[in-house]
Each structure stands twice: as structure tokens, then as C-alpha cells.
């Protein structure tokens, strides 16, 4: 795995130009600020239901999308805000969705757990753990049959890797040599259940062998490591060589959802991981390699904060759905 010491040029620095690297850091800041803004809005009662925050996992979401164009697809999860932003979503429309507005990505029908951005290739978060795995394989089957050259990145968690859908999806992707990359964001817990207690294998990447596909386990808080592993897998998929499984080792700082009391992990564990904050690590790498000055890096942070504040303000005042439209879009053509 590449590290960020100056005497060894990390993959990301070698692979991408300054604009893309700056944009990647910008997106990581934007995700962090988005999550903080969502949390704050929730506390202020602006958001209905629950939400699952990905604070601490920004390098994984952004790094995994570096190799993708808008033509490529992703399937996301209940913890999908970061994936959505990484794939290029507009944060104002995302907040509009959280606020249940007609202007939201799902017209206020889906909320946090179903946020999607189909134009940008995000087929959607999913309320069902493992629900996106077969769907991603289906998207890859379409790409292969229609010859679009598109690749699908399928995000899922460590908990999802014990669902039968994981097994069936990886097996089919492999036997049909489909262009899909399975990215398991292993944040060590499925809700309260640690991988040690739920998963009969040390490294989830080792399960790749059961499907004769390459498996790699990377530091999910190291942007460059994630980007390198996924770039390699995406190239392999585009070249017609089939799927890969990548385990991205990361950590969620917040509770599982708004109702979590963190009874299953220690304060020390959480603070140790917070010390591994992927965003300063990324910023440091860019500064160390002369891509940005410290001032520029800090500016991106502030810009993200401002963008989120503006987005929340703008989204709040947008229009609510009309209850007369309750049955709209149950079926195609049911548009009011």
C-alpha cells in the first residue's frame, strides 16, 4: 500500500492531475459538512425519520468513485450520503429530499434511505441491507449486453456480507464475467454487531476466493489506497475481465442511526479512529506533494461549509408535495 511520505509518491498523486485531486478533497469536505448539516437539521426537527451518517468514511466514498464517469453506475446503501455526493449529486437537492420537498431527488417520497441521482449514475441508496448487490449485477449485465462500456461499483457494508444476496450476486457476477466492482465498506460493525461476532472469516476480502475473483483489503481512510484498488478493479472490469471484491477498512464516528447508544464499542476505540480522520490525511498528502497550499486546503473546508449552509437555507423554503399526488409514480404514467 502506498503511504504519504514525501520520498514515495502515492498512487493518487501519480494518477490524477491537481484539479481532480483538489475536487476529491473538496468532495470529502462537502460530505463531512453535509453530514454535519444533516445531523444539525435533524436535531432542529427539520428532518423526519432516521438517518445513517458516514462521517469518518469520506475517503472510501470519494476514492471509490475516482475511476467512474457519469455513464458508470453505483448502487449505494442506507449509509449513502457520501456515495451520492461522491458521484456528483447536488447537495441542495439532497437536502430538499431530506426535508421532504417536491424539489428533492425523490420528490420527497424517498428520503435519506432512498436518495438517488439517476442522471449521474447513482441508482440509489437502499433501505434493505444487501438489496443493492443483485441490482448492481443487473446493471453490469445491461452494460455488457448493451455494450455501453459502463462499470458498476456496488457499495455495501460488512454486515451486508452475511446476507445470502452477497453470495448469489458475487457468484453470478463471476460466472458471467460482468463489469462490476464490489466495494465492502467494513466499518467493523453492522449496527451493534462486530464483524468478529457476525462474520466467520478474518478478512472479508478473503471471501473473493469463493468466487474466483480478485480480493483486496485496503485502508479505507487512505484516499490514495482506495482509489488505487478501485481504479485497478474498474480497469479490469472495463477490459472485460470481470468483477473484483475490495474491502475498504474504515469506521463510522457516529452511532449507527439516531437511536444508537453506542453500548457495543468503547470511547477509546472511537477516539483512536477519529485520530485517523481521512480528511486531514488527504489534505496533508496534497500539501506534501505540492498540489495545494495549506491555505487552499483550508479554503476548501470553508467553501464546503458555506455551500452546505446555502443549500440548507435554499432547500428549506422549497415546496412540499401535494397530498393529492399521493398515488403519483406508483406506476409509470401516473404523473399528476
Amino acid at each position: 500500500m502506498p503511504d504519504a511520505s514525501a520520498d514515495n509518491i502515492p498512487y493518487a498523486i501519480r494518477a490524477y492531475g491537481p484539479d481532480r485531486l483538489r475536487d476529491a478533497l473538496r468532495k470529502m469536505h462537502l460530505i463531512r459538512k453535509f453530514e454535519e448539516g444533516a445531523e444539525d437539521s435533524y436535531m432542529r426537527g427539520l428532518i423526519h425519520g432516521t438517518m445513517h451518517l458516514s462521517i469518518g468514511q469520506e475517503a472510501s466514498a470519494v476514492g471509490a468513485c475516482m475511476a467512474l464517469t457519469d455513464a458508470d453506475k453505483i448502487t449505494s446503501t442506507h449509509r449513502g450520503h457520501g456515495h451520492c455526493v461522491a458521484k456528483g449529486a447536488d447537495v441542495e437537492r439532497m437536502f430538499a429530499e431530506f426535508f421532504g420537498k417536491e424539489t428533492g431527488y425523490c420528490r420527497g417520497r424517498g428520503g435519506s434511505m432512498h436518495i438517488a441521482d439517476v442522471e449521474k449514475g447513482n441508482l440509489g441508496a437502499n433501505g434493505i441491507v444487501g438489496g443493492g448487490l443483485p441490482i448492481a449485477v443487473g446493471a453490469a449485465l445491461s452494460a455488457k449486453r448493451l455494450g455501453t462500456g459502463a462499470v458498476t461499483v456496488c457499495f455495501f457494508g460488512d454486515g451486508a456480507n452475511n446476507e445470502g444476496a452477497f453470495h448469489e450476486a458475487l457468484n453470478m457476477a463471476a460466472i458471467w464475467t460482468l463489469p462490476v466492482v464490489f466495494v465492502c465498506e467494513n466499518n467493523r460493525y453492522g449496527m451493534s454487531t462486530s464483524t468478529e461476532r457476525s462474520t466467520a472469516v478474518k478478512s472479508i476480502a478473503d471471501r473473493a476466493a469463493a468466487y474466483s475473483m480478485p480480493g483486496a483489503s485496503v485502508d479505507g481512510n487512505d484516499f490514495s489506497a482506495v482509489a488505487e484498488a478501485v481504479d485497478t478493479a474498474v480497469t479490469r472490469a472495463r477490459d472485460g475481465n470481470g468483477p473484483s471484491l475490495i474491502e475498504s477498512l474504515t469506521y463510522r464516528w457516529r452511532g449507527h442511526s439516531k437511536s444508537d447508544r453506542n453500548r457495543y464499542r468503547s470511547k477509546e476505540e472511537i477516539s483512536d479512529w477519529m485520530a485517523q480522520d481521512p480528511i486531514p490525511r488527504m489534505a496533508r498528502m496534497l500539501v506534501d506533494h505540492g498540489v495545494l497550499t495549506t491555505a487552499e486546503a483550508d479554503a476548501l473546508d470553508q467553501d464546503a461549509a458555506d455551500e452546505i449552509a446555502r443549500a440548507i437555507e435554499a432547500a428549506r423554503s422549497q415546496t412540499d408535495p401535494n397530498t393529492m399526488d399521493l398515488l403519483r409514480d406508483v406506476y409509470t404514467g401516473d404523473a399528476a
Binding site: 453506475k73 448502487t75 428533492g104 431527488y105 425523490c106 420528490r107 420527497g108 417520497r109 424517498g110 432512498h114 438517488a116 439517476v118 441508482l123 440509489g124 437502499n126 433501505g127 434493505i128 438489496g131 448487490l133 443483485p134 441490482i135 448492481a136 449485477v137 443487473g138 446493471a139 453490469a140 449485465l141 445491461s142 452494460a143 449486453r145 448493451l146 455501453t148 445470502g164 444476496a165 453470495h167 448469489e168 450476486a169 457468484n171 453470478m172 460466472i175 403519483r328 409514480d329 406508483v330 406506476y331 409509470t332 404514467g333 404523473a335
Partner: protein
């Protein structure tokens, strides 16, 4: 398009009619693929796909592993991204493994995403008892799917409708489930050449009658017609309605008939309690047609038991012609 113009007097079996519809679809629309277990060289457990793999190739007539959840999910994901999959469950009983993808994903994703996607998937469900395959291979579960907004559910009783409803399902942008009764596959009837569609959501009056209305589904339509012929000998004229579509139900055709006859009998193979007949009865009882009822609304459905193996028990578990005769007579001779 309309068949009438090009009808030729030609008979096919129900299975052949379905195969012809799939052949037309595969030949005229590159986006159509077939997926299922043993639908290739084996020709399908009931020989419905037959030789289609030889005519259209293994890339379009795809044998899946024995992975119903994943297979159905792949079809859903493919449908969201440009293909039109026809997914065959080898027996509809095995859809119990795929309810997640059918009900949480296929049926809801369009609504949850505020109309951003459609899911033009067709799922074929060989259903029903009478083959001696016992409780896990003989169920009639269509009522479950009729309870799910976002799905359309049809139940053809003739070769002509089996072809026409499948082609209509393929033209439909939303998920359509087709329940095919296994005992109908070998039954023969006239089938127009070429492409035509049978409207989804429209029932068919198979026989007109003034004395009572019998609403039947699938194979029960034939038993009801057999009973109606005998009833005519006693001077009882039963109107036989073939419901054809479970969701959305053809309210008007049923209500109009009941307004004329004042008596209603529902005949279906699924378990009586909470089966199709419950909805038909309740739909009439809550409508203005209630005022025209001269007698209780009777239902003949499957027994409140799993389907037994022993042939005599198996027969006793579902409505037979004598049961229809008894119910119809008691209705017709009841108070007015």
C-alpha cells in the same frame, strides 16, 4: 396493435403460445432477455422456453444458478438500466425466496425515487396444484402480489391470452407478474399469428347469463364453464367472468354483471382465506352493486391446508366442478 385484422384459425398449446410471444419479443426487441433456471438446453422445467436458446443464443436465454433472490434482483437491476428481462421462476413457490427484490425493490423503486426510473421486468410464475408435487410445489400465491402497489399481476386462462398478456406485459413499463397454471400448459386453443396484446386490467366475459355471476381465475375458468353448461340444463344461466388481471382489478366488468344477475360466486384455487375471492367479494359489497344483491356472496377457494401429496386429498383441496354446481344451485335457488 390489434389481432382481429390478422387472425388465422390456428391452435397452439398454452406453453407454445407463451413461447411464441417470447420468440416474437426476442426477435423484435434487442433489449429483451430471458433468465431462469434450466430455461436453456433443458427447455424449462415445463418446456415453455423450449428451443429458444438455440434460436436466440445463450447470451439472451440465460440459465441462472439456483439463486432466486439474486436472479430476480439481477433482472430488476437490468430492467432499471435498459434491458427488458423475462424472468422465469421454475415454480412460483420459489418466489418466496425473492419477495425482497420483487416487493421491496421492483414494486417500489419507481415510487421511492419520485419517478426517476421504471422497472420493465416480467416475471413468469408457474403455479397451482394437480401435479402430485405436494405442498412446496403447488401453491397459488397470486393474492400476495395483488396486495402490493407497484406490481401488476395477470393470470391468463387461455393460450390466446397467455400470448397476448405476455406481449402486453413487455410493452408495460412497470413490473408485471404472470401466473401460469401448470395444468394449462398442455391445453390447446386458437392463437392469432404475429404480435398482439391482451389488455392488462380487463376481465373477459366467457359466457353470458342472467341468473348468477361466477368470477373465476385461471384454471377455475374452465371448471366454471363446465359447470355452467350443466347448470344450463337445469335452466340456470350463469355468467362466467374470467378475471384475467388480479391487479389492477376490472371493477366495472364485475360490478356491471352483478348488477344484472344479483348473485355472485367467486371461484379460485388459492387458499380461500384472504385469497382473490375475498377482494372480489369485498369490492362488490362496498359498491352500489350491493343494493342489487339477492343472496350472500359465495366463495369457493382452496382448502385451509397445504396441498397434500395423495391424489385424492390433492383433488379435495381445491374447488372441483361439483362444488361449483352445488354453490351455484344454492345461490340461484336462494331468496330473491
Amino acid at each position: 396493435m390489434n389481432a382481429q385484422t390478422e387472425v388465422k384459425p390456428r391452435e397452439l398449446s398454452y406453453a407454445e403460445a407463451i413461447r411464441e410471444a417470447m420468440d416474437i419479443a426476442l426477435s423484435t426487441d434487442d433489449r429483451v432477455i430471458l433468465m431462469g433456471e434450466d430455461i436453456g438446453v433443458y427447455g424449462g422445467a415445463f418446456q415453455v422456453t423450449g428451443d429458444l436458446v438455440h434460436r436466440h443464443g445463450e447470451d439472451r436465454v440465460i440459465d441462472t444458478p439456483i439463486s432466486e433472490l439474486g436472479g430476480a434482483g439481477v433482472a430488476v437491476g437490468a430492467a432499471m438500466t435498459g434491458l427488458k428481462p423475462i424472468f422465469e421462476f421454475q415454480f412460483s413457490d420459489f418466489a418466496t425466496l425473492a419477495m425482497e427484490q420483487i416487493v421491496n425493490q421492483a414494486a417500489k423503486v419507481r415510487y421511492m425515487l419520485g419517478g426517476a426510473v421504471s422497472v420493465p421486468v416480467v416475471m413468469r410464475m408457474p403455479a397451482g396444484s394437480g401435479t402430485g408435487a405436494a405442498a412446496q410445489h403447488s401453491q397459488s400465491l397470486e393474492a400476495w402480489f395483488g396486495h402490493v402497489p407497484g406490481l401488476k399481476v395477470v393470470q391468463p386462462s387461455t393460450p390466446e391470452d397467455a400470448k397476448g398478456l405476455l406481449l402486453a406485459a413487455l410493452e408495460d413499463p412497470d413490473p408485471v407478474l404472470i401466473f401460469e397454471h401448470k395444468l394449462l400448459y398442455k391445453t390447446r386453443g386458437p392463437v392469432p399469428d404475429g404480435p398482439y396484446t391482451t389488455p392488462i386490467g380487463k376481465a373477459a366475459i366467457r359466457r353470458e347469463g342472467r341468473d348468477l355471476t361466477i368470477v373465476a381465475t385461471s384454471i377455475m375458468v374452465h371448471k366454471a364453464l363446465e359447470a355452467a353448461a350443466q347448470l344450463a340444463d337445469d335452466g340456470i344461466e350463469a355468467e362466467i367472468i374470467d378475471l384475467r388481471t388480479i391487479r389492477p382489478m376490472d371493477r366495472e366488468t364485475v360490478l356491471d354483471s352483478v348488477r344484472r344477475t344479483g348473485r355472485l360466486l367467486c371461484v379460485y384455487e388459492g387458499v380461500k382465506t384472504l385469497g382473490i375471492g375475498a377482494e372480489i367479494s369485498a369490492m362488490v359489497a362496498e359498491s352500489d352493486a350491493f343494493d342489487y344483491l339477492d343472496a350472500p356472496i359465495l366463495r369457493l377457494g382452496g382448502a385451509e391446508s397445504p396441498i397434500p401429496y395423495n391424489p385424492a386429498l390433492e383433488k379435495a383441496a381445491i374447488p372441483q366442478v361439483p362444488d361449483i354446481l352445488d354453490a351455484a344451485r344454492s345461490l340461484a335457488t336462494g331468496r330473491t
